[in-house]
Each structure stands twice: as structure tokens, then as C-alpha cells.
Amino acid sequence: MSTPYRASVPTPGASPQWRSLDDLARLEGGGDEFPADASEWPDALSRRRFLQLMAGSLALAGTGACTRQPREEIVPYVRQPEALQPGQPLYFATAMELGGEAFGLLVRSDSGRPTKIEGNPAHPATLGRSSVHMQAALLTLYDPGRSQGLMKSGSPATWEDLLGTLTEQRARWQERAGAGLRLLTRRIASPTLREQIARLLTKYPQAQWHEHDAAFPAPPLPAGLRLERAEVIVSLDADFFGSGALHPRAAFDFAKRRRADHGRLYVVESTPSLTGAMADHRRALRPGELADFARGLARAVREPGAEADPWIPAIARDLTEHRGRSLVVAGEFQSPEVQASARELNEALGNVGQTIDNLPPAPGPRAAALPELARAMHSGEVEALLIFGANPAYDSPADLDFNAALEKVPFTLHHGIYFDETAGRCAWHVPESHFLESWSDARALDGTVSIVQPLIEPLYPSKSAHELFAALLGELPADGYEIVRSAWQQRPGGGGFESAWRKTLHDGIAPQTGTVSAPPAQGATTQIPPTEPAAFQASLELIIRPDPHLLDGRLAENAWLQELPKPFTKLTWGNAAHLSPRTAERLGLAHGDVAELRYRGRTVRAPLWILPGHADECVTIHLGHGRNCAGSVGSGCGFNAFALQTSEAPWGGRGLEIHKTRERHVFATTQEHQRMEGREPVRVETLGKPTTPPAEAAPAREETLYPNIDYGRPSWGMVIDLNTCIGCSACTIACQAENNIPVVGREQVLRGREMHWIRVDAYFAGSVEAPQLLHQPVPCMHCENAPCEAVCPVAATVHDHEGLNVMVYNRCIGTRYCSNNCPYKVRRFNFLSYNDTHAPQLALMRNPEVSVRMRGVMEKCTYCIQRISAARIEAEKEARPIRDGEVVPACAQACPAEAITFGDIHDPESRVAALRQSPRHYALLAELNTRPHTTYLARVRNPNPEIA
């Protein structure tokens, strides 16, 4: 294949992640079913270590004693049984940090191994829902590619060596009052860590703290959106459903409003986003025009008058008619002036305090930005640089030339979960503990604080940031648990500390924190002129955004996220330069061409993706790809967009030129065709209008030659509401985590062999210029007249008494006839031995309730049958029928918009049964009379009559 991008499946033996693909040559027929022996241990760890690790899975055999739960007392969310029963999972409340905000989690622990991550219903940022990043954090914990040892200039060292060096360093900092000492962190959500930083800065007054977070630029989204209260929402390129940190909560609130009276969403954006796809009216504008639009809208609301753009008065009227019940949101990547217009609009419309709160900033010192640090480093002022979590050697704007600057710093230390680009260039590297391995705390945007409690002892000799800071300060206690606990003890809190502490651990949130509304920030309405040299006015605009899944590349080593199809393009294992069909036509560019993007003197080669719904005359590229030290999974797929990023305009601007090369690129996409071909798999209705009868109605139950089989109760079914589904793919990755679904790699995706049990189809409806963007999650339909079953020669897929279409892996001989005969193509086949049975870490990760499939067998969505049987057992113990909502499949549990409802369709009281009565209810390909148990609710549009 003639592409400049190295294939993502690495060379043999390069990584345990991929061993099974490479080692197959050694495996006999079913040999790959057997676990790896100690000699297969993929890295330098000892046999003893291996045995320690395997202890976790040994616990499955009923030896509850040798689990790896931390020594300190941690408190389960669910009341713990008298004695831990092997095979009975426990749930622990904890929290993860992303972009400087906390997301409360509930983590399932099977015999001491965290095996699944869910949102914490009590936590304001998640409300029990989750996002792709929360789900995928599990794989990062067990990732064999993690940094597994402390390194000094490239060679293994010990913690004691480091402590020694730090004592020397402290002496030097002491005498120079910290002059030349710099801290570099990502955005931090942990109050305790902020306190530690504050202590460091007071101890060494001359020291400076810098913050760099390429995916979450400060300031964040104007927090505290109350989407459920907003009847009219205008998004100025604000993707609050996308990678934005507010995602699960935003989708949840928005869905609430949609279900109530739909409301209306206007989205004006340059690149198609998940938010844009939900819009009742979507407008694609290039960033320059977008700024004008924002200004125009603000003007029109201030003094209504004639506007060139017919949309502006219409939207303005809609907004003014909904004072206090409307909301204008500007994207976090938009220029200050757009932010200003949004702030002005919300204030003018009296939305502040109604649909939007200005939240107080986190207490503690403020951090400086990266450019100042880089300047100081270049000028040689920096003597010691301590980097926490950040990876500036890769994810810093090209003009800072950070790597050269790094050369000039005598003492450098990197603390991170991977041995990445920066680690390789620093004198010291300390492996960072995963949040499921270490104690910490985290503050949500609204001020709610949670304790991060570990579920497993560190798999490798790693340290948490707190522990490393304690070492820096030479403080005691040095142990993470003690540090966090003592920090909490010092905070004001009524009543006995112990009980409060236990309660906080149990609930996952500290009481009496959160939802503190601050006075309206002073809207800097002064117009900031766009920072653009006039020379560039004519040329194309470049738009730089974090990758929706890999963000700024910090998650590039996470194979689940690499293989998770990106919104709209369904692209995996790489990125592309997106541009609109019209612009491509004007420039004579074709989909898949490899072009040279020249931007302000810098050049990068990128494959072109022609994306309907993209604004004309601009090009969008995503960060986070093209890494060379990500690890064997993340290295070398895609191109590095940081090469074009500049510190003065990090999110792009004018001055882009495209030069086509002769090369062509083959994209590893999971959906090659995105027009509906008049088959309307996704039905769209208009609010108020009577529902149009489906083209082909399903035959009535009576019209059959066969006697109807009557399923009793329960008869499981699922209804997916396309009107609230935002297409975020959280379901896909939650399913992957719950059901031990393997990753197949770029080559196999190219061959059309991805394994996801629930996929999210994306369609473009209407015109190419202004298409409607549609999503549709497609799991197994569990048809009553399942076409797949009748053709299986060995009865490996049959129906059970609860109406499930079950797949019997160990009976399957792999004729693949069932897949051919499945009109929904939801079946997945193990063409090769995809499951890595060699890396012991991954063995620890797997869900013990779900069998790991071998090569040559078919698999598909089971409605999480393991959860159904768990519920059934509970119900039978209490001699009662299973309650509605008691069984929640992984996809439904993860869905931030609650778009997926599961239950007994024969129970008249159940929510599914009610939804199936809705006029919007329809079955996919009903005319085939497959009688699916998974059905859909049509998408609804609420257009503004003033806009044609």
C-alpha cells in the first residue's frame, strides 16, 4: 500500500498487544485457547512478578485471599457481603481526571481486578453515564505498553537513586530560592495536588508553575451549562457532546429536554461535530465567517434590524422570544471575540443563572502557559524542569521548538504513565500510577470533590503525582494514602472525620461541595482584532482540533480508542485532512489523495478526506496522531498535526496551501458507504407533522405458514431512540470492555473485519452542500424469525426461551453462513486469532463472566446475557420476577443520553413496551418479517419556520 504512514500492526514480537497476530504461525489449531506460560512474559519482569500478577486471576478459583486489593482500607460502593464471595463482583466509587476536571466513576472489581468502569450516579459530571474516555481508561491500566520502570537517562534506576538526586537538587533550589526551577503539568483537578504545588511555590518563591494541556485549552467551556432548561440553544462551534469535558452530563441534560418538548438547537460550525449532527438547523461556516455570524447575532439581539444573512434575524427572534430559557455557547477553540459575543448574548438574554452558571475557578495558585516556559528554556534561565503527565516534546506547537529548548535544561524529570517522547529526552523518568492504582482526589467543574481510591495495587513500580511531590518537597507522609488522607483531615469538615471519610469513599463525592455559583464574570466586550497577517486573507483556513478519541495523543497507545471509528468518517487507526466537496472540486483534489499541507512555512503530508457538511475553503486536521514514541500500538499511525501548530494561533487560521502529491492513501474505515440509497434505515420526522407511514410495512403476525411461537415472560428487547442518540460511540467501547471484544488492527479493519458488537452507523441525508448528519447504533436485532439460525448447519445459533438469539461459541464451526444471511450484518467473525492470550496483564483485564472467543468462531451482541443471568439469579433467590430496569446491558448503561432502553417487551408495565407503542417506533428492515426485538424511535426535527 503506497502510504507514508507505517502500518499500525507492528513488526513481529514488537508488542504483547499484538503478539497473537504475529505468533499465530506457532499455534496449532486450537492451541491459542491455552494461556501463555511464564516464559511468554513479554517484558523484563521476573517470574515472581508474573506469579504475583496471576494471583489476581487465581482468585477466580475461589482463593479470595490472594487478590491485589490495596492494603489500605477502601470502601465498596455496594454493601460488602460478610465474606467476599469469589465470582461476586464489588463496585467501588472513584474518579478520573480529564482536562482538569473530575468524573466520578463506579468501577467493578472481580476478585480484586478492576474489570469495568461506569459513571457514578451521584457525581454531577457523570450522573452514572460515561464516555469513550472513561470506558477506555480500563485498557490503559492493563496496557502492556505502559512504562514499567524508573529510568535514568535511558537505563533502569531505583527510587532510592532518585531520592538521592532530589536531595542534592533541593539544596540547590534552596540556596537560589527556586530560581530556575520550573514545573510543567497538565490541567490539574486534584485539590491535594494543587495544595502540594502551592507548598512547593511558597517554599521556593522563585520557582514557576506552567500548565500545558493541548486538548483542553484554558479557559474551558463556560461551565455549568443547564441544557435541560434551555429551550433554544445556539452553538457557535461548541461541541459540548464531543470530546469536550462536559460530554456525559451535557448529553444527559440535552436528552432530557428533547424528550420533554424537543426544544430547538442551532449549530453554526466549520467541521461536522456530534453536536452539529443533533441540530435542528445546522450551518457550516469557515471560522472567519463564523466570527462575523456571532457578531451579527449579538448585534441583531441588541438592536433588531436588517441583516445580510437571513438566519441571523430568525435566530435572534427565536432567542429573544425565549429570554432566560435560551442559551448561546461558544466553542472552547473559538477566538476571544466569539467567546465575548456569546457572553454578551447570554447576559443580554438574561440566561446567566438560568441556563448557564459562571462557576468559580479552582482555588490555589494560577499557572503560566507553555510559551513563556519555552522562551525561558531557550534563553537558558531554566535549570530544573519537572514535567508531570505532560508530553510537550510531542504535543507542543512547532514554533516553540520545545525539544531544542529541552536540550538546554541541565536537570529534567518526567513523570508519566508512558515512556513517551518527552520521557526519552529527560534525564529522569518516573512511571506514573494509573488512577485505578493510586490515591488522589479530584474536583469537578462545579466544585464537587471526590476521592480517587485505588482498586488494585500498582502493577509496576510506579508512583502517583502526590508521592513524587512529597519526595520533591522532602515531606512526610510519603505514601499516597496518607498524603490524601491527611490533606482531607486538614480541611474544615463538621462531625467525626472517620465517618465522613468513609462516607465520601463510599458515595464517591464529598458532602456539602459543589454547585457554588459565582458572580457573573466581567464580559470583556472589547473587540479583540483577529491575529492574522493580511497576506493570508485570500488563502485557505486551517482548523486544528484534538482528535475526538485520542485527544492530543495522550491516548494514542490505547488500542480500543485507535480502533473506535471516528464520528462521520468512521475512520480508524489514523487521521486525515478534512475538506468540503466543493473546495476539493475547486482545487482538483480527490478523496484519498495524499497532499502536502503548507502552513506558515511548515509542511506536513496528509491524506485528504472529503467530508460532506464541512465548511468550504477550510481544512480540518486532528491532533494526536503521527507519534513516534507512543508505543507499539500508537506509534506511526496518521500524521502529526502539531507540526503545523503555532503558539500564537494554536487552533488554526489563514495561510494554508494544499499541494497534491502523486501518492494515494487507503483509509481503514468501517463504513464505506454513507448514503441511504432511499432505504431510510434512519427515519426522520418533523415535529408536529403527522408521522409518515413507512414505505414497506411489516407483515402481520397472522400472515405466516408456520405456527407462531409464543414467547413467555421475560422476552427481552431493546429500543434505541435516534432522537436522543448523539452518536458518541460510548456504547461501542463499553460493549468492547464488557464482552472481551478484541482489537484487530489496521490491516484487518482494511479487510473489513472489525469486531465491534454494536456499531454506530453514520449517514448523510439531503444535499451534499448542507447534508443532514444521522447516527444509528446497530447491535444484534435478536429477530424472532432469525435468518441466521435457520442456515446454521450445527445449531450453533438458536433461540432461547427468553427470546434471545444466542450464539454458542464452542459449537460454531465457522461456516459464516449466518453472517451472509443476516440482513443487518451485525455478526462478527474471528478470521484469525484476534484475542491476545499471551499478555498476562490483558488476562487480568477480561470479564470473567464472558468467554474469550477463539479463532474460527462467529460472535455477536448477546444483550449482555451474563448480566441477564446475574439478575435472574438474584430474582430467583428472592422468588420474584426480574424487575423492569434491573437488567442493563453495557451499551445502555454507558449511553450518556439514555437513548438505549432495555427490558421485557411482553411486560406491559415496562419502559420498552411503552416506547414500542410510540408513533415514532419502527423496526429496521421490518418488511423482511424478521420480527426484530431491537427496534428504533425515529429522529425528529423541529425546524424554525422562518428558515427555509
Binding site: 408456520y706 407462531n708 411461537i709 429477530c783 432469525a786 439460525e789 446454521c792 445449531a795 433461540h799
Partner: protein
């Protein structure tokens, strides 16, 4: 030659018509234990020797019926009785889907019936047979025609039978003895 029991007398012809005539004559003369040998199936030769039934068609029919019934019984028992499964909402005894296998098993069994009965009734395989003792039989049986009157025939008298065969104007009359 001496000391070995006489198997029979064999007349060798060059033309099928001669053999056919001789066979008829032998029958007339009342010989029962006779057999003829020809390089290819000669029309009516077996009848001339007084052979009525082959038994092959009946066996074939029985085998065929047996195969068919087994086929249906097997499918009905396994799908509806022994291990009933709900397969795509189809009835347990979906007989139309069972027809192809019933048919195949019928044909298979019948074919075995035909082949096996043919060999069985012909007494094959039989590695050796006295007729092979006839001089030059190996070289000539693919081109010449033989009539054999066996010694065990009640009317067999060596001289008289030889004389009878000589009357049929054969190329030779051979005396064939058991091994």
C-alpha cells in the same frame, strides 16, 4: 492332469451366434449346470441358459425404501424428539426442509443395494475359478466365446457330453479339471 476332479467340458467358439445356438441346444438336451463366457454381454445368452431372475431390482427397491425411511426417521427424531430447539421460529418438524436428505439417502441406499446385490448374487469377489484352468482362457476370454457344461450336471457323461459339444462345431472342446 490326472488325480484332479473333472470340473467340466468347455467348448470354445469364435462367433457369438454359434455360442447362442450351442447354449439353446444344451438346454434342449437337458443340461442344467451350464455356463457361457463371452467378452461382452451377448443378447439373450443368459436366457438361453435358462436364467430367469437376477434378484437385483427387488433388492434395490428394498434398500431404497429403507434409506428413505431412515432419513426421515433420523431427522424427525433428532429435531423434534431427542433435542428440540427453537431455530429461527421454525416448527420442530419442518418436513419440507427434511426432503432433500430423505431423497439423498434413498438414492444412496438404493445404489448400494444394486451394486452389492449384483456382486453378491454373482458370487463375487471370487479370486479363483476352475474355468480359468481352461487352456488359453486368460489370453482368449476377451475375444472368444465359451460354453461350459459342468461335471456336476446330472446328465453329464464325459463321452456323451463331449460328443454333444463337438456337434456344436466349436474350435476346441477342452477338458477342465479342478485345481
Amino acid at each position: 492332469m490326472k488325480g484332479r476332479a473333472l470340473y467340466g467340458l468347455v467348448a470354445e467358439f469364435l462367433e457369438p451366434e454359434r455360442l447362442l445356438a450351442a447354449a439353446h441346444a444344451a438346454r434342449q438336451a437337458g443340461y442344467k449346470c451350464t455356463d457361457a463366457y463371452a467378452p461382452y454381454p451377448v443378447e439373450g445368452l443368459a436366457d438361453a441358459l435358462g436364467m430367469r431372475f437376477t434378484g437385483v431390482p427387488l433388492t434395490t427397491l428394498l434398500f431404497g425404501i429403507g434409506g428413505g425411511t431412515t432419513g426421515y426417521a433420523m431427522q424427525l427424531y433428532s429435531a423434534a424428539v431427542d433435542y428440540p430447539l427453537n431455530v429461527g421460529g421454525r416448527p420442530l418438524n419442518s418436513w419440507p426442509a427434511f426432503v432433500p436428505i430423505i431423497f439423498e439417502l434413498t438414492v444412496l441406499a438404493a445404489a448400494f443395494g444394486a451394486a452389492l446385490s449384483m456382486f453378491a448374487f454373482n458370487g463375487l469377489p471370487r479370486p479363483h475359478h476352475p474355468i480359468f484352468e481352461t487352456p488359453f482362457f486368460r489370453e482368449r476370454n476377451a475375444s472368444r466365446f465359451y460354453l461350459c457344461i459342468e461335471a456336476r450336471d446330472r446328465k453329464f457323461r464325459e463321452e456323451k457330453t463331449r460328443a454333444f459339444l463337438e456337434e456344436q462345431a466349436p474350435e476346441h472342446v477342452w477338458e477342465v479339471r479342478e485345481e
